[in-house]
Amino acid sequence: MAGNRNILWAILLILALIALPALVPRYWIYFAGILGINIIAVHGLNIMTGYTGLLSLGHAAFVGVGAYTVALAQSKLGLPFYLAIPLAGVAAAIMGVGFGLPSLRIRGLYLVIATLAAQFILNFVFVHWQKVTNGDAGLTVQPATIFGYPLNNETRAYYLILVCDVAFTLFALNVIRSRVGRAFVAVRERDRTAEVLGVRIVWYKFVAFALGSFYAGVAGGLLAYFNQFVNPEQFGLLLSVFFLSAVIVGGMGSILGAILGAVFMTLLPEFLRGGALAVGSSFGFDISLILVPLRETVFGLLIVGFLILEPRGLAQLWKRAQQKFLTISTVK
């Protein structure tokens, strides 16, 4: 019964999201598009870090691999988006596995360092492999087209992203509820026990890492189409911190958490900007200079705060609020 009610809510939410462009200003739609892309990327990191316990500090770089793959697949190979996006996912998965594989066999810190190395090395490649990536100037990307119909404004691209969001959320949900998802959690919680139960630990780490990187690549591909350009600056360490914060704030190991975390973290910089600008203008100084460091501070505070105080994140708070609401409504 609870399941049916959840499905009902999900359908209502999707209908509302379909109607959204008719109801709100265009700027919001741009924003919703970015949010949708972030949700896919955060699902990816949540599969690795949240469910399987594989901490990655290089998620932004894998998103970047996806974005560059789309830009290059389009300009060099002339691939349409429905081929370029899966290719972006596959390219990122291959990169992820390439960097991760040596350390997936070992416990602990080594994977963290390998992913950090991926972050710096891939970003270095984006900047310095001039011939292919055009360096800091970046590459332009033509909008995606479906049957000759170009998705050349925010609203049209928004629908593409919405479809992808629904598909990728469902896919993640299905995987998590299956034998594979149970194995992920088993690897995270007690790898010795998992092994006795017949779970091949290294294999499932590999699967989680490849799948998470695939999601990152797809998100990057969508981002390339959406912004219609790609440059290295978009995929720095700060973006990796951003994704990590989203996973932690939302609630590690929860699909709902990944979505809540992405929403919260995407909206947060806007609120920060709004708040800082308001404060700044009333005191009469230029606050725009401190926006980036302010963001870093707040991301860090959220990571530390949630890990110490509420490691199950917003998803847990949400659940608790729901239960409270239910008990109140049944009492009445």
Binding site: L55, P102, I106, R107, F120, F124, F299, G300, I303
Partner: protein, 293 residues
């Protein structure tokens, strides 16, 4: 110029720069030994110390000597706050959660420094003389050479301290086996806090030295992430190994910069770290404590 002489000079400069890496690595390894916590905020702690030094020495015009003392006090205070309010509540939690906390702390410090002191580089009072040093016909930039000398002295003093002092012995006992150490009456919490103080000191000195050799910007800490690869290279549980690894990394950065191009310097440590992971994951000198699955 003769390429052999060039090579020797770049090598000397690199090894000299590696002295600071060794110092930072030492701070990270002591924390790891006492509490199995890997401190990703080490670079930021060191960067923050350099800003403390700048503020005390320049803004409050205390001069380099009192500036350094103020920076040490400030760094130790920050380290103890981090240990008490962020790491201690995380005791017993999963390893990666603790790593993420230190990573978050790094982000907080980076942000706060950016907000207070701004993104541009600041001129720090020169505590190191500029005049070049000649060693056996090799020309080494003055600041690098002197920073190296200071780093070596501090490292030597710390190692002697860890080896012979009561606190050092307590630390080694706690590193070997926390529970036994605890039952023998060693204050394990105190030992852990103490290692954070050591890390604050090495971080503060290396931060000020680094800011003298290069320049003072909020990204000074990011540069210190290089130390991570140093630590892998050295093997997490061997202090001697980590020190040697620091010199190797400094040397390699310098030589790569010369042979391939300066821009490659920044990724050299990471490429090396990946290679080590592939070939010898216990590090060059660590014992085989890493669990294969």
């Amino acid at each position: 110029m003769n390429p052999m002489v060039m090579f020797a000079e770049y090598s000397a400069v690199g090894i000299a720069a590696g002295g600071i890496y060794a110092l930072i690595a030492l701070g990270t390894v002591v924390i790891f030994k006492s509490s199995q916590t890997f401190n990703f905020a080490m670079g930021e702690m060191m960067m923050l110390s350099a800003y403390f030094f700048y503020t005390a020495a320049v803004t409050f015009a205390l001069g380099p000597f009192f500036g350094m003392i103020a920076a040490l006090i400030g760094s130790i205070a920050v380290a103890l706050i981090i240990e008490r309010f962020a790491l201690r509540p995380m005791m017993g939690r999963p390893f990666i959660a603790i790593v993420m906390v230190t990573f978050g702390i790094g982000s907080i410090i980076r942000g706060i420094v950016g907000m207070i002191w701004g993104p541009n580089s600041l001129d720090i009072p020169a505590i190191l003389a500029r005049s070049p040093v000649m060693i056996g016909g090799l020309f080494i930039p003055g600041k690098t050479a002197r920073a190296f000398a200071i780093a070596v002295v501090i490292v030597g003093a710390l190692i002697a301290f860890l080896r012979y002092s009561r606190a050092g012995i307590a630390l080694r006992a706690a590193a070997a086996d926390q529970i036994t150490a605890y039952s023998m009456g060693i204050d394990v919490r105190g030992v852990i806090a103490f290692t954070w103080v050591i890390a604050a000191i090495t971080g503060c000195i290396s931060g000020v030295l680094m800011a003298n050799v290069n320049s003072l910007t909020p990204s000074l800490g990011l540069v210190a992430l290089n130390v991570l690869s140093v630590i892998i290279l050295g093997g997490m549980n061997s202090i001697g190994g980590v020190l040697i690894a620091g010199f190797i990394i400094g040397w390699l950065e310098s030589v790569t910069g010369w042979l391939i191009g300066t821009e490659f310097r920044e990724i050299t440590p990471y490429v090396l770290a990946l290679l080590i992971l592939l070939i010898r994951p216990t590090g060059l000198f660590g014992t085989a404590e890493i669990e294969r699955i």
